[in-house]
Amino acid sequence: MKKVEAIIRPSALEPLKEALFQAEVKGMTISQVYGCGNQHGWKELYRGSEVIVNMLKKVKFEIVVDDDRVSDLIDIITKIAQTGEVGDGKIFVLPIEQAVRIRTGEIGNIAL
């Protein structure tokens, strides 16, 4: 099993969620993060002073899947979350050694 971690723009949240449901991904965990990278921050204004905001709101998807679905997922995410502008985000793949479904105690692929 692998964990696919995708850090994307907030505006891709809804479409990506839909696309993953379509692709019959059974479960995913989503959280809000801040990202720094090539994308430059924007300026906020406070009483005439500029404030550089260089931590940008991003959304992180964590999806644990069977090894052979990984490239699939990468394709889907890339397709949906790509705008071509700097700041589209990254996908990382991590190894997972074990998975457990708490409700039933099932372990391994069947737990996903």
């Binding site: 809000q32 924007w42 906020e44 204004l45 406070y46 931590m55």
Partner: protein
């Protein structure tokens, strides 16, 4: 001499109505998405500020200046005066020559003070009327939330009070077409037509011109801060005591009746809205209760000084299902994007209120010779009320529609923000400001 009691009353009523604009900003801000909060609130605040300046310089004159449309025999002597006032009271004076005249501003024996108001100063009257124009214009912005550019919005809220609100005020309260006994003869105690129908319908017209938000109908637009919605409604309720009570223009039994009716109509509408929600969805919500409170306040506005408290309770019960229907069904059916529901709440509620006034008005309290159908069996007032509504609709749709289309034509880049801006949120994109920068927890 000024009556201190009525002067105190009108000054404080004005203060409460002035509060309604920030209260509305809060109400609307709470209803909007988190990424559009600043923009939504700022629309109300900038509307309030611009209208405040415009009103003292020119608006009050357009609404209440000028000659009468009819002579004392009811002959039409001045067609323009059916729709507009004049330009004789610019800069909050009674004539431009008085602009440096102190007496005209504060004494009770000046022409300025005595000719028009009697028991309280004209300055207070101007401020009171300004506060109405301010909040009315702010109401309109609710239909445009989440997608209008800031430049066109400023343009709209600058011209709308001059072209729509001030003429409406003249028509209804300045012995113009709608309110004059020689005209349509409709009665409107505190602004059912002038304020609520005018703003709500303008919102509808403009949102049709502007188009729906991206993903409207698919995406869920939920309020980002429900306590703000509740608090906004609560502060609006407070303001409405000034709004409806102050519209008696004297601290007496009429004002008393107005505020009692205001209170019970809003309470009744909350109760009824809760019952509807219980029946339709099984669950009572706080946004629903707050919306019901507003609907009740809207419906009683034209009627508050004319009807008995038990009628006010009834009116509160009647308005909730109608507004609920408009907001929960009609809007989706017809697919217009009245974002924060000014039309569904103010427009629809105002129409219901204007018509019910024709039914429940106690004859002795009516401004005209006609009383409510229920008391007199005579439909004259009811017909006047309906004609008043129709005239209002016609005027508002035509003028606001024209204004909206002209705005669209004038702003070459369009009056809507781009999809990217809509995605990112209008707050950072248009204003470089986020409402809660620290609530990612990274303070």
């Amino acid at each position: 001499m000024f009556d201190t009691g009525t002067t105190a009353f009108m000054i404080l009523a004005t203060a409460l109505v002035v509060l309604m604009s920030p209260a509305l900003a809060l109400f609307y801000g709470g209803l909007s998405r988190r990424k559009n909060v600043v923009n939504t609130m700022l629309m109300s605040i900038i509307a309030m500020a611009i209208v405040g300046v415009i009103w003292v310089l020119i608006g009050d004159s357009i609404a209440y200046g000028g000659a009468d449309a009819f002579d004392e025999n009811g002959n039409l002597v001045n067609i323009g005066a059916l729709f507009f006032g004049g330009f004789d009271r610019l800069f909050s004076t009674w004539s431009l020559g008085e602009i440096f005249d102190a007496n005209a501003l504060v004494s009770d024996d000046s022409t300025l003070a005595s000719c028009a108001y009697g028991s309280y100063p004209s300055t207070v009257s101007i401020a009171f009327q300004a506060s109405f124009a301010m909040v009315t214009t702010a109401i309109v912005t609710g239909s445009l939330a989440g997608r209008i550019k800031f430049g066109p919005l400023v343009f709209l809220v600058t011209l709308w009070p001059i072209l729509v609100y001030a003429p409406m005020a003249h028509m209804v309260w300045g012995s113009g077409l709608i309110g004059s006994e020689y005209g349509i003869g409709a009665i409107d105690f505190a602004g059912g037509t002038v304020v609520h129908i005018a703003s709500g319908v303008s919102g509808l017209v403009l949102c049709l011109i502007l188009g729906v938000r991206r993903g409207y109908g698919l995406l869920s637009y939920r309020p980002h801060n429900v306590p703000f919605v509740m608090l906004g409604a609560g502060l609006l309720l407070l303001g409405w005591f000034g709004f409806n009570g102050g519209s008696a223009f004297i601290a007496d039994g009429n004002a008393g009746l107005a505020i009692l009716n205001t209170l019970v109509a809003s309470c009744a509408a909350v109760v009824c809205w809760a019952i509807i929600e219980r029946i339709k969805t099984g669950k009572v919500t706080l946004v629903g209760a707050s919306t019901g409170m507003l609907a009740g306040l809207v419906v009683i506005t034209p009627a508050c000084g004319f009807v008995a408290p038990w009628s006010a309770v009834l009116m509160g019960f009647i308005v909730s299902p109608v507004c609920y229907f408009a907001i929960a069904f009609l809007k989706h059916k017809l697919n217009y994007d009245d974002a924060l529901d000014p039309f569904g709440c103010h427009g629809v509620g105002g129409i219901v209120g204007a018509i019910l006034t024709g039914i429940f008005c106690i004859p002795e309290l009516s401004w005209t010779d006609f009383g409510g159908l229920l008391y007199t069996g005579d439909p004259s007032l009811l017909i006047s009320q309906i004609l008043g509504v129709l005239t209002t609709l016609a005027y508002v749709i035509i003028v606001t529609g024209a204004l909206g289309l002209i705005t669209k034509a004038l702003f070459k880049g369009g009056i809507r923000v781009s999809t990217e801006v809509e995605n990112e949120g209008l707050d950072t994109a248009l204003h470089g400001e986020s409402a809660y920068p620290a609530f990612g927890g990274l303070d």
